[in-house]
């Protein structure tokens, strides 16, 4: 789409902050989330999980469980399809183990009973004989000689010879000559960094209600970021024809990437098929932690060379990501995002996807990118410190711009990194004085953003109001932003549009709500569907007036003659055309189906002030400012909300959150008391600056905003801690014991 086609001003609705359409339901407790559904004759399910990190399943005896009064069905792997291949096989193996339990919490069997209490009692009666196998949970240990092999033969062709079989994919990219670049530098710093796995931490556990009959037809209600994907995977895992399974997305109580796949949904359907009754399955919080996707843990080496004037001469990174007992750790994302903010002549990045005895990693907000930013932006901060340079000036000097050859290959189109850096520099926060014991950190962050398959339908009602059907679950207020875009095109009030998340039987395929794609792709599709509707509305007016359809334009919700030559007719409002549509050609519905590919990449710059208590090692966040390019903020309040939420999650990742495994390979902290996400008293207000550098790939210049906001905080907080406490931490989280240890080391010289 040429840049001239991007509308950047004179918006009537876009850029305003109306109440969200689902607001009333959500403040009154009326909104129906995953666990809020029930059905006549419904059973309750529960899942038997492995207590071992790695164990061969010798036998499963379900006779005692089946004998318990109220138990209606028991399923094991034998109750799923056997012809499953590729990634679907990995998902099935994760959903229900076959011959080996691969991590603590891996599902082994499931039960449906006439109450949740009976189901929970029954799973204790399932007798499983395990042969415990050696396990490994650490990424570096899993790559080392002699590490237990998770599954031999999993590695793909990308992996160079001689690596441990747990290394299953390999990535290598870059350009220029890094050795020559390092030789030009006045200072080269190389450091090793590690980050622990964190969980998306959505407050709503996975929950679903499934019904599958002997006729192969099914209904599934579930909390998900993408119900077409659930339909596709579940039908494959159960041997169903895809269209025979109708999936409806509930309101979703947070996802952040973690609800882009399936965990319990195929199990509920298998239990239902066996019991011939609807089955509800809801994870406990412990199950969410043990068996739904955390992030990868990482081990990283980053080396950057800089001249005295701040010019980066070369950058190199090695990124090892552990993604659980399955391939798929997003190491290529880590590698490709690492140096993306900078225009580099010489850059080289390598990634390793490593399997270990942990749950299968799932996407978490800009998957792979925050860890890279932690390592890279920490090294840049260290270089700035040692060379006595301003961290924003150095980033401005090296910033990627339109036309820069990105570290991961292509040339950037119109991007807004420089604008975020300039806005950060001009922000009062950046020049505000610090109190003793406080330190300031800054960091940039990058995410690609994504388009994906999108299908939208916009139907006119007889009174001229509009039903907008989209297929992307609303994970952050998207019904409001999509209705705003429809209102903008149609010229009718926002309140006259009802946006519905359609089920899989009501629209064409829609890719998952991920990749910050919804406001971009469903937004673009909504605008195009509205334009399609307008074309049809204009044709009705043209027929009524007896003029060419080309001679009719659409203005402020009315068909009007395009100019004086078209004829002299009064504007024809949408409600009038709608009232007569039955006798003027039938119902009016606009639609749009495409795979938009113009999702503009997104950059952010964060500023954070922290103070470290030298007695306890506790870090307090004193002030926080997010500056991010949104392209165009459709509903600014929800854009700010994305910025603030990403920052808060990043602060948690930086300071507190981590998966802690014992020597036995079991997860030690599977409750919110021990896996500590930020609470209200941990955080200050989070200031936001919305930068708008239009994305040429969207009619209004929209860029996705959901993910980039979690990329800078890890490094920004680490840089602030370094400035406040005088010690640099190379491992996350920077929990009080780690900070105390670093302070003690420093004191001991």
């Amino acid at each position: 789409m040429p840049k001239d086609d991007v509308k950047t001003e004179n918006f009537r609705f876009v850029g305003t902050r109306p109440n969200r359409p689902d607001g009333l339901d959500k403040v009154t407790g009326r909104a129906k989330f995953g666990a809020d559904a029930s059905a006549p004759g419904m059973l309750h399910g529960a899942i038997v999980r492995s207590p071992h990190a790695h164990a061969r399943i010798i036998s499963i005896d379900t006779s005692k469980a089946e004998a318990l009064k109220g138990v209606k069905a028991v399923v094991t792997r034998a109750d799923f399809a056997t012809d499953v291949t590729g990634e679907n096989w990995n998902v099935l193996e994760n959903v229900m183990a076959s011959d080996t339990a691969l991590y603590d919490g891996h599902a082994v069997a499931a039960i449906a009973a006439n109450s949740a209490l009976v189901a929970r009692d029954a799973i204790k009666l399932v007798e499983i004989t395990y042969e415990v196998l050696p396990h490994v949970t650490d990424v570096d240990a899993a790559m080392a000689d002699g590490a237990p092999v998770i599954r031999a033969g999993t590695a793909d062709k990308s992996v160079p010879a001689g690596l441990h079989p747990n290394v299953v994919r390999y990535h290598d990219s870059g350009h220029g000559d890094v050795e020559a670049g390092f030789a030009e530098a006045d200072l080269v710093i190389k450091d090793h960094f590690r980050t622990e796995a964190t969980h998306q931490g959505y407050i709503e556990p996975h929950a679903c209600l499934g019904m599958l009959g002997g006729d192969g037809k099914g209904e599934l209600w579930c909390t998900t970021q993408g119900h077409w994907n659930v339909q596709k995977i579940c039908s494959a895992l159960l041997g169903l024809e895809t269209s025979q399974l109708r999936v409806t997305a509930s309101e979703i109580g947070g996802g952040f990437g973690g609800k882009t796949t399936v965990f319990i949904e195929p199990v509920a359907l298998a239990l239902s098929r066996k019991a011939n009754r609807p089955v509800k399955l809801v994870m406990t919080r412990s199950e969410v932690f043990r068996a739904s996707g955390p992030t990868s843990s990482t081990s990283m080496d980053v080396k950057i060379g800089m001249k005295k004037d701040g010019t980066i001469t070369a950058a190199e990174g090695v990124f090892r990501l552990q993604g659980g007992a399955f391939p798929g750790a997003p190491m290529e994302m880590t590698a490709m995002c690492a140096f993306a903010p900078y225009a580099l002549k010489n850059v080289h990045q390598v990634g390793y996807d490593v399997m270990a005895n942990r749950p299968k990693q799932a996407a978490y907000r800009a998957p792979g990118s925050p860890m890279a930013a932690f390592a890279v932006e920490s090294v840049i901060d260290e270089l700035c410190g040692q060379l006595g340079l301003d961290p924003i000036d150095v980033r401005l000097k090296n910033a990627s711009k339109e036309g820069t050859k990105a570290s991961y290959g292509p040339r950037f189109g119109r991007i807004g990194l420089v604008e975020t850096l300039e806005a950060a520099k001009a922000h009062p926060h950046y020049s505000a004085p610090l109190k003793p014991g406080q330190g300031r950190g800054i960091s940039c962050g990058f995410w690609f953003n994504f388009g994906g398959e999108t299908s939208v339908s916009l139907a006119l009602s007889m009174d001229g109001s509009v039903q907008l059907m989209v297929g992307t679950p609303d994970i952050g207020g998207s019904r409001a932003s999509l209705a705003l875009m429809a209102a903008e095109e149609l010229g009718i009030p926002y309140e006259n549009i009802r946006t519905t998340i359609a089920d899989t039987a009501s629209l064409g395929y829609n890719e998952v709500s991920h990749g910050s794609r919804v406001t971009y792709a469903s937004g673009l599709a909504t605008i195009e569907a509205a334009r399609d509707t307008i074309k049809k509305l204009c044709a009705r007016a043209a027929a009524k007036w007896g003029i060419d359809a080309d001679a009719v334009s659409w203005e402020d919700g009315c068909a009007v003659p395009s100019g004086p030559n078209a004829g002299d007719f009064d504007p024809l409002p949408i409600a009038k055309i709608a009232a007569s549509m039955g006798r003027t050609g039938g119902p009016i519905v606009g639609h749009y189906e495409a795979t938009p590919e113009g999702a503009g990449v997104s950059f952010a710059t964060h500023i954070v002030d922290a103070e470290v208590d030298p007695e306890t090692g506790k870090t307090g966040i004193v002030r926080y400012t997010v500056v991010q390019d949104a392209g165009k903020a459709v509903h600014p309040a929800y854009v700010e909300g994305q910025f603030q939420g990403g920052a808060a999650q990043g602060i948690g990742w930086a300071l507190n959150e981590e998966y802690i495994y014992g020597a036995d390979g079991r997860l030690q902290n599977d409750v919110f008391l021990d896996y500590r996400i930020p609470v209200a008293s941990d955080l200050p207000m989070i200031d936001t600056v919305i930068v708008e550098v239009p994305n040429p790939g969207h009619p209004y210049g929209v860029r996705g905003v959901g993910e980039t906001s979690i990329c800078p905080p890890l490094a920004a907080v680490a840089n602030a801690v370094s400035a406040a406490a005088g010690v640099r931490l190379h491992e996350l989280p920077m929990s009080p014991p780690r900070i105390l240890e670093a302070l003690e080391k420093q004191r001991d010289g």
Partner: protein
Amino acid sequence: MSKIHVTTSVNGDAMEFLCDPRETLLDVLRDRLNLTGAKEGCGTGDCGACSVTLDGRLVCSCLVLGAEAEGKEIGTIEGLADGEALHPLQQKFIEYAALQCGICTPGILVATKALLEKNPDPTETEVRYWLAGNLCRCTGYDKIIRAVMDTAADMRADAKETS
């Protein structure tokens, strides 16, 4: 196992139910009384999504047994609005975009209402500590805290006018 007969009051309505001695108040509200506004986020009293009031006291309903409701007055999110008229907190949460996914919202509203009844003029720090038992993963709390502070100010102004 024989069930326990419980007579109680929910949002001012007399209610009775039979429950297993092991069932929590949250289980009873959601599964027996069809009041699904209170959510189970953890089942261990750490997230606050199941917040209700029991004889006016703020509790995690996942930590209370259903049988303990005998003779008590329970307040849930479903009782916050007066018919069509939203509580000022509900109104302000919508207006301020103080919710994203909305799963924590019922618990936060119930908890905040209890705070403002106790302390109509809380400082930001007091609001943050009061809500430290109500986890929100979407918002970073910023808009929630602003909504609470401004509702409190409005309610104080209204109280002054009517007094």
